[in-house]
Symmetry: C2
Subunit: 803 residues, 2 copies
């Protein structure tokens, strides 16, 4: 701002004292300390803890943990701009190469983990199942049950102990956590290395223990963890930092990596590369397509150079393709029998393409019926899962031992069901036309002998005493109309439905896909039997459609589910039927409650920002939801004031206001972040008497990377600061680290529009500025929590009525 | 604003005269007219035409036409809010039902048009080809050529005449226009009914005429046109408006429909439903995933009711599935021979899945080589197409007759090439192992007799004298390693490459996919021959990979291309190779120039907003690119002033500023749109002496739908207004139609950030507000044109150096 401007406007706010000070060179500096002092006294009462009615903490793996928001805004301060100007071509090159290399590594890593997971589960569970069928064939029934329940219990205890003692965040599906992260929520330990470790091994032992859980959800979480670990920039503690990785020390690049990781996880779980991309797209939505001002916030615009527009979309696709290649190579290798008991099973891939894919009116009616059933069962499932989770959280809160105990109880229950219920099934004579051996001799297979005489098989045992993947394969198998008795399907459906509900929420990594597919395939076959006389569709196809309907009813992720099912079954001609059933089941279920992942996100207390604004938001304006007093800093602020503010508030961003004489009227200079303040204070670049013009010095002393976001739990902490009494009285120039162009909205903007702006741009702070002049230049700051329904409805309890 | 507020703040800007006026009831009104008069004299010099260095017009179909921006912002004014509050459940239901019904209709319509297109082309071209092969077999060579060239010429003339005289906008591919529309550019006639008509029939005749053009691009455009027509709300002229369709009278809902339409077009062209969705996603990016404050800008938030989050993504998928079903039913129907000459061909679907899909190192090398070749040829192709288009535009500018003449010349050239070149090919003896008849007897087929003796075939004629679809099928056919001679492939490649370049840009609907696939498949086979000794990949697979590489090199739409190719070939196992070749070819080609569609968009002068901000934008702030004076209105403005502003400027949005005594300091009240002003003026709800408080009246006299955006060319026009001299002196209250919460940014925000905000939220106007207080409350308005590189580089020619 030049002098002319300053003088020209001075008749507006005539202030004799200020004018005097301006004319007196020395006085100017003295005046500054006065103002600063005044500020302290003025701001003191405002430093009380900000009131906010929504939870600022979340339950991550049954532990309560404080949550931060991710910040996808570019912090455009002096330092950043200087740093950006000094970039060279070679650094752009490094960055681009690294980004692709990391995508490759994520793909390889997730693919390898996926293979390892499959081999381990098939071998452990296979060993267990062979042991039991061996004992059963010798008619040692009690010994068989003891062995079965014992194995299950042992495996379950290992999984639960890992989970309870090492990484509680690894419990559950993991998809809600990944969703939340991609939505911009950063809960400590959600993607930590320990979580990754427990997720992999806990999932292996949990699935092997015969629980009604899947390994698909955990696989998605694993992919995200691998991506997070790779982008973490090594460990400063063990001096394992690699210089190049500094480029990824910001939320935007990390989010991109984790998007790739989540997609890779889906691809590895279902062998569905396109489905993985669409999953990431449906869940991460705005982030995958986000437009980039500085496509990589800490360095030059490589997008503008290479004209990769949808670069992230494409890189995600690349990652999933790598996963697909790894899985294929692995399957080809294992085909020759080098993977122990891992045979053709293991990696789900259901072939129903041999079934006729022409259909007419009765088939459509059957599909509609399936959709309605799926919707009803799905929403009921979600309701019950919610209730059970709330009950379990009381137990889980009490510590690690009760958690393990709960797992043991559920394990015993599962073992009793799996081993006990098949006794109610009648023995069925082996089909004469079957090409596979009956009864089955190896671990997997359609025809389990159980207690039956030779030449007969127990159809319920074929479902219960198999790995979940094999059970699904049995249910999906085509041209086997009469293989399962109706009563068998009823019993199995009821058992899996209930076990699935009580199993989710115990302290093991537990995916939801498999229980849902199992139960859905069951009633799909039942409906198929109902329509057998008038429909020409195959039973396997009915099972698939049933699974689709139940998936649609619980998860509600229509597009990606559809593509995943397409890729699973490798038959494009089924598409119209699958779409129809998903559409109906989602619509029916949506009229009752939310999707299961959304429910879990809410239950955990994660402040998930919805993609749409709630209707009541249109009755409010942005300033209506600003709560509590605001803590602001001057452009040149006293160290003590800053430290006090940092200590007494939990705020992450502080507006910086230039006041006279730095400007002729109070003016919003920008926003400064807590983490940047900590780095600045740690650097101790203080001014004794508020001498201005030290921006240059700071620019020389700090590099932009000093302010780059550290990995979780690695940044400078408040306790690390060691500020003496004398230093407390000194000043620091905040201008070089102030983001001079934060996103602002007028206080009169409708809250709905503000919410969209906030979500669309992935902001962490949004400044509310007054519309009328002559007032303080900032009204308040909105954060993620201020847009939460609980917060708004807490402030305006009766606003929902206007809906 | 209540009286207390007004008085409470008055001590800030003490103004004796104003206070006096406020206390005097009558004087208040008198005072108003004074202020208004003053405003007129003050604003007079500002009403000069705003200078803007970028073109505000575009070449649409060789005609120059003014372009508007689409506006996806919710115009949140009093009327809208009142209207929104009065909505009932039944209306939400109507809206939701209608949205799905329209998606269904779009799918059905596009599917049926796709079928019709295929039947027509196959029958017309088949008749022509049978006639010629009949004449050739009788050795009447000259007669055959005359018949061939004559048929081609006649068909070409019909197509060109349709295009030149009825709808010039139908020329070309249409994909650039759809891209531009989804980007927010509304050029008149781009999606008009006449364009649709010509696009369908022009494409049929053009493709039948033997041009090296595809029907895929036009199909995408056709889908978008059908969607636009369905959402148009009927014709007011013929009293065909349907009440329900009023819900779609806004840019957001129309864009959603057109997104569905474009996806349906892709699905119909390639039988690729998932590919269609991804195409829409890659091209429409931000719009498909856009977050909605008021998901349907003129009515209640149905999203919040039904919790459909990614509803548009899903509806798009639904539309493409409908298309897929229609196409399948049609093929099943035609299979029995009821569609004339339409046989198994027609709808492209290439089966290369029988080829072995295992590969090793030499194959990867071959694929890399193909990628590099594709990149080089692709970028060269784009360069040449650009040059040719610029040359043609000189001819096309001269009117309809020269356009038709140009088409005739190209038609003759194509006929000569197609009929003349096969004479250079040697006759090849028929393979003994072939299961199909050789030489071919019907229209399509691999083995054309041409001039050869019986038992031989002319391989070049099999490529030239076939429909383009059949030629591609021949090139893709597997297990036919030696079917085509190397020289044949060379000649065909050179001919198609050159013909493709000179054909695009003539006045017929001409898709780019087919020429590119043809040329790519040719050199793919050539490379395959080169690697025959060391690679085990099939020639058909090489042809596919060649086509992929050339597509990647020209179009650069990686993800959707990849999925389209996957669905075309119906083999998931090819995915890794296709991705690799696309990745390489795109990377190579990107280092030379832009994608062909981007080039055409630029050439047409369409102000396409890139997804990323250019690097130099970071050196500028938002206020740097504001050009020309600003035209503002007062909250209560004189009719004459408004009319004058509307007449003398082309602006679409005007800021409304409340000045004392309406507020205590000049305050930005909001933004008012030209179309709304016109409706308001037409309503003649004027105030004689500036009496305030007529907002209520206006709310009673107008409904929000009166202000809803009319279909193209249907709104109130300036000429429709009939304002008398007396009325010119009267006042009108703009508050009820003022959008009170426009998106604003500080003048000091970096241009890069502002550009992202603008693009991400799909804005048409963005208000720049001053940071310092005491200045006029608005600095300027940014529109799409202000973000164009030409505009910015025009203002700051040397800024690129800083890059």
């Amino acid at each position: 701002m030049d002098a002319e401007d300053r003088l020209g406007n001075h008749d507006n706010n005539v202030n004799d004292i200020e004018n005097e000070v301006l004319l007196d060179g020395n006085g100017f500096e003295r005046h500054w300390s006065d103002i600063a002092d005044k500020n302290v006294t003025f701001k003191e009462p405002l430093l009380s803890r900000r009131r906010n009615t929504t939870s600022q903490i979340a339950i991550v793996g049954a532990n309560v943990c404080p949550i931060e928001s991710l910040d996808y805004e570019i912090i455009e301060n002096e330092l950043f701009k200087q740093d950006w100007r000094s970039r060279k071509k070679v650094q752009i090159f490094q960055y681009v190469v690294l980004k692709w290399a990391l995508a490759l590594l994520i793909g390889l890593g997730t693919g390898v983990v996926g293979c390892f997971n499959n081999i381990a589960v098939e071998n452990i569970a296979g060993f267990k199942l062979l042991l039991i069928s061996d004992l059963m064939s010798k008619e040692k029934y009690f010994k068989a049950f003891a062995a079965y329940a014992g194995c299950n219990l042992g495996l379950a205890t290992i999984a639960a102990s890992l989970c309870a003692f090492i990484a509680p965040a690894a419990a559950g599906s993991g998809i809600p956590e990944v969703k939340a992260y991609l939505n911009g929520i950063d809960a400590h330990s959600m993607l930590a290395p320990s979580t990754l470790f427990v997720k992999i091994f806990g999932s292996i032992f949990g699935v092997s223990a015969g629980f009604v859980v899947g390994k698909e959800g955990p696989m998605v979480h694993t992919g995200a963890c691998i991506a997070s670990l790779l982008g973490q920039g090594g460990s400063r503690k063990y001096h394992l930092t690699w210089k190049w990785l500094k480029y990824f020390k910001n939320d935007r690049d990390r989010r991109d990596l984790i998007t790739c990781g989540a997609a890779a996880g889906v691809a590895a779980a279902f062998r569905a590369p396109v489905g993985g991309v669409l999953f990431a797209l449906e869940e991460a939505a705005s982030c995958l397509i986000s437009l980039d001002a500085y496509p990589n916030s800490e360095q030059p615009n490589y997008l503008a150079c290479s004209r990769w527009r949808s670069a992230l979309l494409w890189r995600t696709f690349f990652t999933t393709a790598v996963v697909a290649i790894v899985l294929r190579a692995f399957i080809q290798y294992c085909w020759t029998g080098k993977c122990g008991l891992f045979g053709q099973g293991g990696l789900i891939m259901y072939d129903v393409s041999s079934a006729a894919a022409s259909y007419n009116i009765p088939d459509i009616v059957a599909v509609l019926l399936l959709g309605v059933i799926g919707g009803i069962f799905g929403s009921l499932y979600n309701y019950l899962v919610d209730k059970v989770l709330r009950t379990y959280s009381i137990i889980n809160e009490r510590g690690a031992a009760p958690k393990v105990l709960l797992v043991i109880v559920i394990s015993l229950l599962t073992s009793c069901c799996s081993f006990g219920l098949p006794w109610f099934a009648k023995c069925i004579p082996c089909p004469t036309t079957s090409t596979v051996s009956c009864p089955t001799v190896d671990g997997s297979g359609n025809y389990k002998l159980f207690q039956c005489p030779s030449g007969y098989y127990n159809d319920l045992a074929s479902l219960f005493l198999n790995t979940n993947d094999d059970s699904i394969r049995n249910l999906f198998s085509t041209s086997t109309e009469k293989e399962f008795h109706i009563s068998t399907l009823f019993i199995f459906f009821a058992a899996i439905y209930c076990l699935g509900i009580v199993t989710y929420g115990i302290a093991i990594p537990s995916g939801l896909f498999i229980p849902v597919i199992l139960a859905g395939a069951c009633y799909g076959r039942l409906v198929g039997r109902l329509f057998a006389s008038i429909s020409e569709l195959d039973m396997g196809l009915f099972a698939l459609l049933g699974a689709a309907s139940f998936l649609g009813g619980t998860m509600r992720m229509t597009v990606s589910l559809c593509v995943i099912l397409l890729e699973l079954t490798n038959d494009l001609l089924l598409l119209p039927l699958v779409m129809l059933v998903l559409l109906v089941s989602k619509t029916v279920a949506d009229s009752f409650n939310k999707g299961v992942y959304d429910q879990i996100v809410k239950l955990k207390g994660l402040p998930y920002l919805e993609a749409h604004a709630e209707p009541y938001m249109r009755h409010l304006v942005a300033s209506d939801v600003v709560t509590g007093p605001l803590v602001t800093f001057s452009g040149i602020e006293k160290v003590g004031t800053i430290l006090h503010a940092l200590r007494t508030t939990g705020h992450n961003g502080f507006p910086v206001i230039d006041e006279p004489p730095l400007s002729d009227a109070p003016e919003l200079c920008g926003l400064v972040l807590r983490s940047h303040l900590l780095v600045l204070l740690k650097g101790k670049n203080f001014l004794r008497d508020g001498v201005v013009l030290t921006g240059e010095e700071i620019l020389q002393r700090f590099a932009a990377f000093d302010f780059a976001k550290a990995g979780s739990g690695k940044g400078v902490k408040l306790e690390d600061l060691d500020i003496s009494e004398e230093e407390m009285e000194m000043f620091v120039d905040l201008h070089p680290i102030t983001n001079a162009s934060p996103f602002t909205v007028f206080e009169t903007m409708s809250l709905a529009k503000a919410a969209i702006l906030f979500r669309q741009l992935g902001l962490r702070h949004m400044c509310i500025v007054p519309k009328a002049q002559g007032r303080p230049p900032i009204v308040g700051i909105l954060t993620r929590h201020d847009f939460m329904p609980e917060h708004i409805l807490g402030l305006y309890p009766r606003i929902e009525c206007h809906k």
